[in-house]
């Protein structure tokens, strides 16, 4: 079983396909869960405090906007954990944790320069493309075993 990071890091489809093929999907909601279920913090909605943008300095300098660094404090650690990655081309409707394009660019860069196997795809727009999409993911994940 490999730890596979998916991009967009909140994707239901990608994380589902990774898990149903017997691997561990590394996703942002798991990180958010740790934050929002921590009792000692009180900074709704996400319990992100000004400390998170500071933790994000590990991935981006202080002149990078605080929103990028705050997001990186969530996504950066799971990039470090990743043993493989599936990257889907930006579909134009990413919001929330994936709502900042500068963060997303940095995330893709860090994944690609990490040196783990990466599968590049686009979201399917018809049945033929969907069959290839699912097949490629399956083959990629089988290759990781």
């Amino acid at each position: 079983m490999a730890k596979v990071i998916v991009y967009p890091p909140t994707s239901m489809i990608l994380s589902d396909l990774v898990e149903r093929n017997g691997h561990k999907a590394l996703v942002v909601p798991e990180v958010v869960r740790r934050l929002v279920t921590a009792n000692e913090i009180e900074s709704p909605p996400l319990n992100i405090t000004p400390e998170e943008p500071k933790k994000g300095l590990r991935y981006a300098a202080v002149d990078v906007p605080s929103g990028v660094r705050g997001r990186m404090s969530l996504i950066g650690p799971i990039i470090e954990e990743a043993e493989a990655a599936i990257i889907v081309e930006d579909p134009g409707w990413l919001t929330g944790c994936a709502g900042c394009s500068r963060t997303n660019e940095l995330v893709r860069l860090l994944i690609r320069t990490k040196g783990v196997p990466v599968l590049d795809l686009s979201y399917p727009t018809n049945d033929a493309e969907a069959k290839v999409f699912v097949q490629k993911i399956k083959a990629f994940l089988e290759g990781l075993k």
Binding site: R20, P91, P124, A128, A130
Partner: protein, 138 residues
């Protein structure tokens, strides 16, 4: 550790969110369930949720999808009723991917050959464009 997961059904699945909820209510699992328009949210101990999800998937292996969620169901920090209306930003991504689920479902269920995808259209060669322009202008 308590975890929360979305169970989302493809719009073409014969299994309805209410069927899933009924299945969980009638099961041995001690979990919280919340029905939503696109599926159900389940919350419980990680091992319990994982075992439950296996059973739910079996209802329609190609038509039911699972997604992790950070917040417990109905968390006031994320509830739009308590937070001045408007969907939370991440909702739009679930909505966009949900619309794609029938394609993925059919692909998962497909057992035939994988079709060849025609290559993406490339821009017209400049020489050919020149010819067309000349033809059009003459």
């Amino acid at each position: 550790m308590l975890v929360t997961k979305y169970v989302i059904t493809s719009s073409e699945s014969n299994v309805l969110p209410s069927d899933i909820a009924m299945k969980i209510y009638g099961s041995k699992y001690d979990v919280n369930v919340k029905e939503t328009c696109f599926g159900v949210i389940v919350n419980g101990e990680e091992e319990v949720i994982n075992a439950l999800i296996k059973e739910i998937r079996a209802l329609d292996p190609a038509g039911i999808f699972i997604k992790d969620r950070g917040f417990p169901p109905g968390d006031p920090r994320r509830c739009r009723g308590r937070r001045g209306g408007g969907a939370r930003p991440g909702f739009y991504m679930i909505e966009a991917e949900s619309k794609m689920l029938p394609l993925i479902s059919r692909a998962l269920a497909w057992e035939g050959d994988i079709p060849a995808i025609p290559e993406k259209k490339k821009p017209l060669a400049i020489k050919r464009l020149e010819e067309i322009a000349k033809e059009g202008l003459s």
